[in-house]
């Protein structure tokens, strides 16, 4: 089941009353959406508020999502509108339509927003997370590190990774999983203190 079908399944489950399914979509896209919004809204606390608002709007509008576009594309438009309305409500200049509707906003990948973190605590935790991830990556066996890098950074499919690494797909699967689980094991104690507890 491809990535888009996974999203579609989660949407359909949410449309049938399964709120957890929607939460999984939120977990998946929250940072991507926040990244988008921080192009237009400087204050990270406001970015979070607007992100929350956008997700709630998306939830309420779920019945009108028919799946003819990707979920994130739809969410992206809701995010844009929410940010727009927010800026107007705050009496700020709403950026021109070219800024807002630019397709490249969707592919914005840079990390310079990290400068503006509000609370020292949030900043510290983010730094710790980045440090932990990097540290663990360095300590991983080479084949695990390669596999997860090809997947997460190069965005390659399992099949292509198998070709590049000259191994069976099953091995790719297992290597990516072991890489993730090793890093996750180091992160869990950190996240406990981040009060990001929900699950």
């Amino acid at each position: 089941m491809g990535d888009r079908e996974v999203d579609q399944q989660l949407v359909e489950r949410a449309q049938r009353g399964d709120k957890h399914a929607f939460e999984l979509l939120v977990a998946k896209y929250q940072r991507k959406l926040a990244r988008l919004l921080s192009r237009f809204i400087r204050d990270p606390a406001e970015v979070e508020d607007v992100a929350q608002e956008a997700f709630i709007k998306a939830y309420r509008a779920l019945p009108s999502f028919r799946g003819d576009s990707a979920f994130y594309t739809w969410l992206y438009r809701i995010g844009i509108n929410t940010a727009k309305n927010y800026l107007v409500a705050m009496g700020r200049r709403a950026p021109t339509s070219t800024e807002f509707d630019s397709e490249e906003a969707e592919n914005f990948e840079n990390g310079d927003y990290l400068r503006d973190l509000n609370t020292p605590e949030a900043e510290l935790i983010t730094k710790q997370i980045a440090a932990t991830v990097n540290q663990t990556m360095e300590e991983l066996p080479e084949e695990l590190r390669t596999a997860i890098t090809l997947r997460e950074i190069e965005g390659m499919s399992y099949e292509d990774i198998a070709t590049v690494m000259n191994c069976p797909i099953g091995t790719v699967r297992s290597r990516i999983f072991r890489a993730r689980e090793t890093i996750a094991a180091r992160l869990r104690p950190l996240l406990g203190t981040a009060k990001d507890k929900r699950w």
């Binding site: 049938r16 009353g17 709007k57 309420r60 509008a61 019945p63 009108s64 309305n85």
Partner: protein, 327 residues
């Protein structure tokens, strides 16, 4: 998601446990009961106090209904909070807001009040609601029969109605959402039927005269015949039918507002479309007034507002399906 398949399970368990019958009513019988309720509201003289609850709010009001040879008259007065009064004289409804000195008036169309649908459309009421009797209860000193209308999908609210066994007058009504939480409830706490109701009891308490008072009239044109506004709703939940289409305008303005009404026999949804024309007070998105959900969106410089006593998902779906197909 299909509305709780647990329900029939419970109903039958109730049957097993308490020995009370809970079979669905035949459509004819169900509709006859509903018509009886509507007839009673229209033809009887009655006066009483009722409690209206929605969300976590509670309001008490007095209502009087009087009919004679010259027509049908009603008066509603709120007894809590800011004073409000609604007077109905036949087809005219006047809303008095004495503290703000505003009088809103609206002319109702004369038509059969209930059922709101033509006979052939009424059949859909029984298709989208499962209707059955509930247990009798005593309300405001009257013996009542209960009628349960349970929706078969999540696009409408559930209803339970308690009507006086003797006269058929509605004593209590409850609207329930898909989580089985009560969205709204009306209940008489005091009631007299038939006797002791006089014409002066339906007179307005306030003498609303300009310039002290402001008048707002929301007119409707196209009283006769059908009107094609060019606006359509391309998708709406099963059981709903368009029952009205008209043009309106506000007092002192020539801006045309289109008003469509869809109903499934128990719930009505109104769709209003007006030009945006530089209005800055439009609040897009979802809001509510008690049990009525309201959804507003802008389509090509037109403001589309959909509202009705139905779940948010319904008003949203309908709003998203409003389109212009006229010339």
């Amino acid at each position: 998601m299909r509305r709780r398949s647990l329900v029939p399970l419970i109903a039958l368990i109730g049957f097993l446990a308490a020995g009370a019958a809970a079979d669905p009513l035949q459509p004819k019988e169900a509709l006859a009961l509903l018509e009886r309720v509507a007839d009673a509201a229209r033809t009887l003289n009655y006066a009483g106090i009722f409690v209206y609850q929605y969300g976590d709010q509670v309001e008490t009001s007095r209502i009087v209904h009087y009919t004679d040879a010259s027509g049908e008259f009603e008066k509603l007065e709120t007894l809590d909070g800011p004073r409000r009064e609604i007077i109905r004289n036949n087809d005219e409804v006047l809303c008095y807001y004495p503290d703000a000195k505003i009088l809103r008036s609206e002319k109702r169309l004369t038509r059969r009040s209930f059922p709101a649908l033509l006979p052939e459309e009424l059949h859909s009421l029984t298709e989208v609601y499962e209707i059955r009797k509930g247990d009798p209860e005593r309300i405001a000193g009257f013996n009542s029969q209960a009628l349960i209308l349970e929706p078969k999908d999540g696009m409408r609210y559930g209803h339970k109605l308690w009507a006086d066994s003797g006269s058929g007058l509605l004593l209590k009504a409850r609207m329930v959402n898909e989580r089985n939480h009560v969205v709204e409830q009306f209940m008489f706490t005091q009631l007299t039927i038939g006797t002791g109701v006089t014409r002066d009891m339906v007179n307005p308490s306030f003498n609303a005269q300009a310039p002290a008072w402001r008048f707002d009239r929301f007119t409707n044109n196209n009283m006769a015949g059908s009107f094609d506004s060019g606006w359509v709703v391309t998708q709406y939940p099963p059981g709903f039918h368009k029952i009205m289409e008209m043009r309106r305008s506000r007092q002192g303005s020539s801006v045309p507002i289109t008003h469509l009404v869809y109903s499934d026999g128990l719930a009505a949804i109104s769709i209003f479309i007006e030009p945006a024309g530089g209005r800055t007070d439009v609040r897009e998105g979802l809001s509510h007034q008690g049990a009525i959900n309201i959804y507003t969106r802008t389509v090509n410089d037109q403001i589309v507002t959909v509202l009705g006593e139905a779940p948010a998902v319904t008003v949203i779906q309908i709003a998203n399906a409003v389109a212009y197909q006229g010339k």
